[in-house]
Amino acid sequence: MRGIVKRFPGVIANDNVDFELRAGEIHGLLGENGAGKSTLMNVLYGFYHADEGTIDVFGKPALLRSPADAIKIGIGMVHQHLKLVSDMTVVENIILGLKSPKGFLTDVASAEKRISDLGEHHGLSVDPKAQIWQLSIGEKQRVEILKSLYRDARILILDEPTSVLAPSEVKGFFAALRNLKQTGIAIVLITHKLDEVMDITDRVTVLRKGRKITTQPTSSVDQQKLAQLMIGEEIPAMVAKSQTSADEVLLQIRHLRVFDDRGLEAVKDVSLEIRRGEILGVAGVSGNGQRELVQTTVGLRKPASGSITLHGGEITGKSTRSIIGFGVAYVPENRNEDGCVSDFGIDENLILKDFDKPPVCNTIGPQIPTFLNEKQIRSRAKQAIADFGIKATGPTAKARSLSGGNLQRLVLARELTGQPQLIVISQPTRGLDVAAAEYVRSLIVQQRNRGAAILLVDEDLAELVAVSDRLAVMYKGEIVGLLKPGQFRPEEIGLMMTGVKKMTLEA
């Protein structure tokens, strides 16, 4: 790929980027969020059209008008968010969109055979007859790769494949990648994890702000060097935590049991407590009940049994609205879907929780809301933009126009107003660049120092270790470890997260 330029309205995602991939190599594509990694690969995959630049594949100029063109010449891509039909079987997903050799009839039997062969040969075996929804994330990923291999891909683009895997799964996954490499397949590994680059890649290309910084053999760099290249500046230090007298228990969860959407027990007899001025981190591979735990705490899901008390008062099964009224703030993991209304301006998004209460709403007496107070709403927005450093064209700029970091600032601005007692935070820095993530972490610690109790659910183990005062590890709906500072050893937590190790908890 030579001189690739891709512009989106307002940004240049790729600015004159050259990229070269050799057969039989694993090539790391490293960069922060928004550095242009995915864009570049989506250009190669025909998903986007480059505004400028040329692409040669296997020595021939390639015309990539759509993914179909890319697939035809042997390029396969596995997206970060897997694109599988969950009510279909593995075979059906893999042959989806392909012409059947039998004309109108699908040829499931021979496809099944080929898929099992491919799987075995490359160490990617999955049961071809299984329905997708029955599979773990790791298995689904294998299906995606098999899908590309089934289409005779010689170039495999993997977009942050390990972000959804448990540490133990990563190992097996990497083994499979090495295996694929042996057969001459070229693999692009999009990532922002340095250890992975060091671990598995042969060469690495670093992108920063849409520009290519360098391509080097991995053996010639180390993590320190890569981090420098990637960020281009020193990594800012963590916010210092002040000592807080974390004595008073604010949130107490006792013997909580919660069912998930499928009616399966997602939270099993969980008991936790959080004190004022304390950050309780919850570690775990996603899908181990953290989501249900959080939703139940903020009143979005009803528990099957158990109790949740806030400052001694029962909030179990109360409505979200009344729980918010008790001083509970919630920063949901999915900013776009649950955290904001994309088509609302910053101003309107900031009043999502108190739009019918003073000061943003005028009232008759203390209770009956009448009209929104435009002046208050506008000035609140201006204040939040200034206080939280939201980069936007103005107070009425639509939330959808904000970048991930600025959107998270907006959500935090809303949730942190009114000095909440308990703040439930889920994946606060997912998808944010280093600087934005750092800012978000500093805000969380600030709230802790102020005396708020914080329940922090996070898949980023490094982040949890850095900010938590105590750490709970969840596995299959249970708390399998409860760690105090000094006990935070990532390898050990990793073992707990994957169910290998379990602590005996004192009652």
Partner: protein, 355 residues
């Protein structure tokens, strides 16, 4: 070489929307002429008739306003529902039910009713309540049982229409003349909406309609209820996460929407027909869906779209008379115009850029 490329816009600007809508409005008469020319009719005569039936003459203008009046009320009601992403297709049934409730109120007081300023407000209020209650049924079916409101509101239309047809042949039928038509007795003068344009049927109904649009504007953009309606419509999941009761909002939007449709039915029967007729179910509830979309689901847009549609209906009937063409040909033109307008509106979402 400068090439032009069509790219989607990040944000649809108000200006783009207005421009495009204006183009649609201007282009549609041309479509009518094209259709008629294709059918071998003189476009010159058609153009003249269209002009006289809309803005060219006082009667034509009056008829346009008369046609626009109930349409506006139905469409503005739908704006509330559509803003909450509640797909109320039941304006037809709701306006019919509003008119039925009005008739039910009027019939016992046929002789010596109280004066207009007492009876009309009561009748209109009842039509609003009737439409609201009628819409409450599908609203509750959706919020309590999760039944899709598109299906239930459409089915409720048939309930209302069949009830109407039964009532005008049964309990409500004018029995004073033996073997009479399926219609209720004619309402006494006290129930007629005051006329505001002499020698026409333009009543205070148009004022009620426009004021309703303005009120709905304030409701949607200046009150907490309107805010929650828009929030639920744009992102129910975020609304729920922030403690908004989605079901309550959906119910409110649906009931208000039905209420305004009911009021539209009330204004129609008290302003135009002065009796309950099977023709109360004229399909206006479906036209209102188009009008509300044509008005960009915005109160001010709905005012213009309703008047435009009223003019279209009035103008086309003038063309029908002038050219002696069947109504189907004018309905065909209307259909083409609607499709054309919806296509043109898509362009607001794109812009031309140098590639």
């Amino acid at each position: 070489m400068a090439r032009l490329k069509i790219t989607p816009k990040l944000e649809i600007t108000r200006r783009a929307l207005l421009t495009v809508t204006l183009i649609a409005y201007v282009a549609s008469p041309l479509v009518v002429l094209a259709v008629l020319a294709a059918a071998g009719k003189s476009p010159i005569i058609a153009l003249d008739a269209l002009y006289r039936g809309t803005i060219g003459t006082v009667p034509g203008f009056a008829e346009s306003i008369v046609q626009a009046t109930p349409l506006m009320l139905l469409a503005i009601g739908l704006v509330i529902a559509f803003r909450a992403k509640v797909w109320n297709i039941g304006a037809e049934g709701q306006q019919v039910f509003g008119a039925i409730v009005v008739t039910w109120f009027v019939l016992p007081f046929l002789k010596d009713p109280w004066p207009s300023y007492v009876m009309i407000p009561i009748a209109l209020l009842l039509s609003f309540i009737g439409g609201g209650l009628f819409a409450a049924i599908p609203a509750i079916m959706r919020s309590k049982l999760g039944i899709n409101e598109v299906i239930t509101t459409i089915m409720m239309n048939y309930v209302a229409i069949d009830a109407l047809n039964w009532l005008v042949r049964g309990p409500f039928q004018d029995k004073s003349i033996p073997g009479s038509y399926p219609e209720s007795p004619i309402f006494p003068q006290q129930y007629s909406l005051p006329i505001i344009l002499s020698h026409s049927n333009v009543t205070i109904g148009i004022i009620i309609s426009v004021v309703s649009c303005v009120l709905v504007y304030y409701l949607l953009f200046r009150t907490p209820l309107g805010y929650s309606i828009r929030a639920v419509g744009l992102n129910p999941s975020a609304a729920k996460t922030s403690g908004i009761s989605v079901n309550r909002v959906v119910n409110s939007a649906m009931i208000l929407s039905g209420g305004l449709a009911g009021l539209g039915g009330g204004v129609y029967i008290l302003g135009i027909t002065h009796e309950l007729l099977p023709e109360q179910a004229s399909g206006i509830g479906y036209t209102a869906v188009v009008v509300s979309l044509l008005g960009n689901v915005h109160p001010l847009g709905v005012i213009f779209a309703s008047i435009f549609f009223g003019a279209l209906i009035s103008g086309m009937s003038s063309v029908e008379r002038a050219l002696q063409i069947p109504q189907t040909l004018s309905l065909l033109s209307q259909g083409i115009i609607i499709v054309l307008i919806l296509i043109i509106q898509v362009f607001a979402r794109y812009e031309l850029k140098r590639a």
